[in-house]
């Protein structure tokens, strides 16, 4: 379905888009970041927390990283302190980039068995389909954050993949 090259491209895109959204959110007050704007997870901060939770959960399954800690264990319904969230995001993006540098086409082509968080049921799927889900999940929720940031009057960077700057 995908090769390591797709993974590396999306890892760069992830870092670029997070840099843009976190920069714009950082210019807002805590009250603006935590204002319930009607998105699925309510606020800018909770939605960003949820994306980080999803990424950390999947990296723990797929790449053996530590699972999400208690600060992000409730899928974004729990507000992570902004300064902590920023540091955790930068750390996660570095881990995704590192993973992108190591992943092989062979690994992506295998099946992968994982256990669901709640029912503790074993599920088996193609490894690469889970990777596509991880990146699609980010883009979906970043779209919501982008909408809340523009409604708050900020100007995030372009979001189109072909316009990704070389420095990312």
């Amino acid at each position: 379905m995908i090769t390591a090259e797709y993974f590396q491209t999306m890892a760069r895109y992830n870092r670029w888009q997070n840099a843009s959204l976190y920069r714009e959110a950082d210019g807002q007050s805590d009250a603006e970041r935590q204002l319930d704007r009607g998105a699925f997870f309510g606020s800018i901060q909770n939605t960003l927390s949820h994306i980080l939770w999803g990424d950390t959960m999947w990296m723990s399954r797929l790449d053996g990283a530590p699972p999400p800690d208690t600060r992000i264990s409730e899928k974004g319904r729990f507000t992570v302190a902004w300064d902590d969230l920023k540091v955790m995001r930068i750390d996660a993006d570095a881990k995704i980039a590192d993973w992108a540098g190591r992943i092989t086409d062979d690994e992506l082509g295998r099946d992968f068995t994982w256990q669901t968080s709640f029912e503790k049921t074993d599920m088996t799927h193609p490894f690469d389909l889970l990777v596509v889900q991880l990146f699609n999940h980010q883009t979906h929720h970043r779209g919501q954050v982008h909408a809340m940031l523009t409604a708050a009057g900020t100007n995030p960077d372009a979001t189109d993949l072909p316009f990704m700057p070389d420095e990312f």
């Binding site: 379905m1 999947w58 899928k75 389909l129 883009t139 979906h140 909408a147």
Partner: protein, 169 residues
């Protein structure tokens, strides 16, 4: 690089997600669909129209669909009637999987050169990266529409891939 199976997965996901968002948007009033909610293209209608226009622009390059007669900043206003927007979306979502069935992995290799409506000049990039962009672009803007719909109290379907348990990841 991506293979044809990625296209098939994403074309199916696109279809299911559009059915969910259009079903919920259909329950809103015309005024609600056109209300400026502060997203990049303002309203639910204009954002959905922008996704559709961009899909057609890219599919005209990938699969010889008719190129829309609007480009760039006019993309959210290509189709201004809700009933027509729904119809064209449905037709497009029926066509996308047919392309997914026909395409070969080798079609996705190599570069594609196109005239950019935004940059105003010829641009070139690997075909697979542009196909990835089209699907990522859909998900990004559908995320905005999803945020506006829940803001109106609507309940779109799950947005994870369909194999995911309903309790989330």
């Amino acid at each position: 690089m991506i293979s044809a199976s990625y296209l098939q997965q994403m074309a199916g996901y696109n279809h299911r997600q559009n059915q969910s968002l259009y079903r919920e948007a259909d329950l809103l009033s015309e005024e609600q669909r056109r209300e400026d909610r502060g997203v990049f293209f303002g309203s639910i209608h204009r954002t959905l129209c922008h996704i559709l226009t961009a899909d057609h622009i890219w599919m005209s390059r990938f699969d010889n669909w008719d190129m829309p007669d609007v480009r760039g900043g006019k993309s959210p206003d290509w189709i201004t009637g809700w009933a027509e927007l729904k119809d064209v979306r449905q037709t497009s979502d029926d066509r996308l999987p047919q392309w997914g069935e026909r395409i070969k992995d080798t079609d996705l290799q190599g570069d594609l050169t196109w005239q950019s409506g935004i940059a105003g000049e010829d641009d070139s990039a690997p075909t697979w990266a542009l196909v990835t962009h089209m699907f990522n672009h859909q998900t990004h803007h559908r995320g905005q529409v999803h945020g506006m719909l829940t803001g109106f109290g609507m309940v779109p379907d799950e947005t994870d891939f369909e194999f995911m348990p309903l309790s989330g990841t």
